[in-house]
């Protein structure tokens, strides 16, 4: 039994769904953040797998871009979460609803 590209895609879909579920269900901002990272990386997996399969380099380039953006995003996102945590000693996103209309 060989490992075809389909396996990678199924794995990526599974990871992505776990990520979506995490974002929707968990209330802790930090965990939500990790779920988002999971989704980003599942997409990266798709990019690389298909790049290899189709013999195109662009997919890997895109994956690199996603990594860079994700790194930058993590820096800012974590900084915000830390700032919120310091202020209210909680990272529960349901309490952060001051901006509602």
């Amino acid at each position: 039994m060989t490992v075809t590209v389909t396996w990678y895609l199924i794995l990526a879909a599974g990871l992505f769904s776990i990520g979506v579920g995490g974002v929707l269900i968990r209330r802790n901002a930090l965990v939500m953040f990790m779920s988002i990272e999971l989704m980003l990386n599942s997409v990266n997996l798709t990019f690389v797998a298909l790049s290899k399969n189709l013999g195109l380099i662009e997919g890997q380039v895109a994956a690199l871009f996603v990594m860079v953006v994700a790194a930058a995003e993590v820096t800012i996102g974590l900084a915000i979460i830390v700032a919120i945590f310091r202020r209210r000693s909680s990272a529960n996103v349901d309490e952060l609803a001051e901006m509602k209309g």
Binding site: V20, V23, L24, I25, R27, M32, V93, D94, L96, A97, E98, M99, K100, G101
Partner: protein
């Protein structure tokens, strides 16, 4: 070469602009001299080409400048023919004299320069009107005249009555303009152009009797507005609220002649519609008599002259109606001179009486202001139709032309003759009450002769009032020959034989003298006759025509306006606007609940949206 004739219009316009923007800095009296001299130059420019017509050295021509609305056949062009030339001479000539007069009369007015700006605008508008080579351009001048008359009549707008008078003149003229505008539409639908020459040369072939009647009747509606005929004349007496030079300019030389000029210009069309001629003649004669009756009862010196203007305009319109276009225009010309003279003379009197206009408070001014007295005497004789003053010749020509038609037209002739009797009567009344008898001035009034800028125009106008009639006597038809090219396409009524002329002229003269003698005996006494109650009261109130209009037209109009203001505007217009606003607001209220502030809610939205999109792609792609 007459290409430079555009300067005639341009110079007053330049004067208007300069006085409008820099008038305050130019100051008094320079602003007045500027306005006067520019119009004087316009007159000088037009003088030689006009004399060319007089001596038969020139032919009518269209001077083209640039295309304005090619689709309508409306170019910026001048139709330079004797009729236009004559009107230009009157408008600039009399206009310049009135400007000169105003330099003295408006002395000390806080808006001195603005006055001359408006006056120049008025002259420029009138010149556009008379020089236009097509109906569209003429309409531009026509409307501009309406505007500038409004500005001038309500010049002293802080007086509520002056503001109201300006508004009244403007609105009544709008009613006339409506007729003119509809006439223009029919003309364009029929001819496909507005160009005078094209229309007048092709009219006999193209125009049906019905269309000609419709067009000319509507044109006449326009003329009743500008030329103050029944039923739209009521603006003119009120327009006396303006400064006296304005009255002289509007009611003698320019605005009121516009309607008569327009009908003379369209003489070809009027000739194709004999039934319109009947209407025009009847309205003219009725106006002449009705206004003369009112003039008899007026006490305000300017009001007498105002109604006399309406009456004299009735004569001109009667002349147009009976097809004596030359006679109508001739009376227009002589009237421009003697009525301007009378108005300016009255202004001089008012000036001397420190602004009082009631003739009962005058009297005995003969010795105090000799120049005004002598020149006013000339004007009085001219308008009364005394030989050999100009009014005699021109009025008589219209009377003769009406008489010549015979049949039922004799009724109109009789009416016009009766109006002539009354004209002599009320003018003598004015003259006697102002200059003769014992002084009835209020304490502390010191009448004095006016400065030379005011008396010189009086003297010049008096000379013209005396002599101008000699241009067109049965023995010497210089004026008719001069105008002949303009009326080349119109059949001329046959000149009455010398015998019938002599008979008619003698009759008119006897009637005029009878009026004068009757009036002299009545008013040249130590005590003025009591003129109160009954006829005098009704006449003084102009037979309540204004009240009638007020009740029938103005009051319902106000009701409708109030309904619009109180009901339609707040409920329908504002209702629509606020309704839309309320709708948007409540929609936004509903919508803002979705902005819950809960991140996981937003995330769920994004996820559900993504899933839906995915499903949609699957369906479109045929996956499901």
């Amino acid at each position: 070469m007459t290409d430079y004739l555009w300067l005639i219009v341009a110079l007053p316009l330049i004067g208007f602009l300069i006085n409008l923007f820099f008038g305050k800095r130019i100051g008094e009296p320079l602003a007045g001299w500027l306005g006067f001299s520019l119009i004087g130059i316009s007159w000088l420019i037009a003088l030689t080409p006009t004399l060319d017509f007089l001596f038969g050295n020139a032919n009518p021509e269209t001077i083209f400048y640039f295309e304005w609305i090619p689709m309508l056949g409306a170019d910026a062009a001048i139709l330079w023919d004797p009729l236009a030339a004559l009107l230009v001479m009157i408008v600039t000539g009399v206009g310049a004299l009135i400007h000169l007069y105003s330099i003295g009369y408006m002395h000390g007015d806080p808006r001195y320069a603005r006055f001359f700006a408006y006056m120049n605008l008025f002259i420029a508008s009138m010149l556009i009107l008379v020089l236009a080579s097509n109906f569209a351009l003429m309409f531009v001048g026509w409307e501009l005249v309406g505007l500038s008359s409004y500005l001038l009549i309500s010049f002293w707008f802080t007086k509520p009555s002056a503001a109201a008078a300006g508004k009244k003149a403007f609105i009544l003229n709008r009613i006339g303009d409506w007729g003119f505008l509809v006439a223009l539409m029919i003309i364009f639908a029929t001819f496909g152009t507005f160009d005078f020459v094209t229309i007048f040369t092709t009219a006999p072939a193209i125009l049906t009797a019905g269309a000609a009647t419709a067009i000319t009747l509507l044109l006449f509606v326009g003329a009743t507005g500008k030329s103050a005929q029944i039923p739209l004349y009521v603006w003119l007496p009120d327009a006396m609220e303006g400064p006296t030079p304005v009255s002289a300019l509007i009611h003698a030389a320019t605005m009121v002649t516009a309607g008569v000029f327009m009908m003379a210009r369209s003489a070809v069309l009027f000739q194709l519609a004999p039934s319109t001629g009947v209407v025009v003649a009847i309205v003219g004669a009725a106006t002449a008599l009705f206004a003369a009756v009112i003039a008899v009862t007026q006490m305000d010196i300017k009001k007498v002259l105002a109604y006399s203007t309406i009456s004299q305009l009735g004569y001109m319109v009667l002349g147009i109606g009976v097809g004596a276009y030359t006679a109508g225009v001739f009376h227009l010309t002589t009237h421009a001179f003697f009525k301007a003279l009378l108005f300016l003379g009255a202004g001089s009197v008012i000036h001397a009486m420190a602004g009082r206009q009631d003739m009962r408070e005058m009297g005995g001014l003969r010795k105090k202001m000799p120049i005004t007295f002598i020149t006013m005497t000339v004007g009085w004789l001219a308008i009364s139709g005394i030989f050999p003053f100009s009014g005699f010749w021109s009025k008589d020509e219209i009377l003769a032309a009406t008489f010549d038609r015979g049949g039922l037209w004799l009724i109109l002739w009789g009416i016009a003759l009766l109006a002539a009797l009354l004209t002599a009567f009320y003018m003598t009344r004015l003259w006697v009450m102002t200059f003769f008898g014992k002084p009835r001035w209020e304490e502390g009034t010191h009448p004095h002769e006016s400065p030379w800028t005011m008396t010189v125009p009086l003297i010049i106008l008096a000379l013209f009032s005396l002599t101008f009639g000699w241009f067109n006597t049965p023995a010497r038809l210089a004026f008719e020959h001069f105008l002949a090219p303009s009326f080349a396409l119109v059949a001329h009524p046959e000149a009455p034989s010398l015998q019938s002329f002599l008979m008619l002229a003698t009759l008119a003269l006897v009637v005029a003298i009878a009026g004068i003698v009757w009036s002299w005996n009545r008013y040249h006494r130590a005590d003025l006759p009591v003129e109160e109650g009954g006829f005098w009261k009704d006449g003084l109130n102009a037979f309540y025509v204004d009240d009638f209009y007020g009740r029938v037209f103005v009051a319902p109009g106000k009701k409708v306006s109030e309904w619009f203001a109180d009901t339609v505007d707040p409920k329908v217009i504002d209702g629509a606007a606020t309704g839309i606003a309320h709708g948007v607001e409540s929609f936004g209220d509903e919508l803002k609940t979705t902005q819950s502030g809960r991140v996981r809610g937003y995330a769920a939205g994004v996820a559900i949206g993504g899933i839906l999109l995915m499903l949609a792609f699957l369906v479109i792609g045929g996956g499901i």
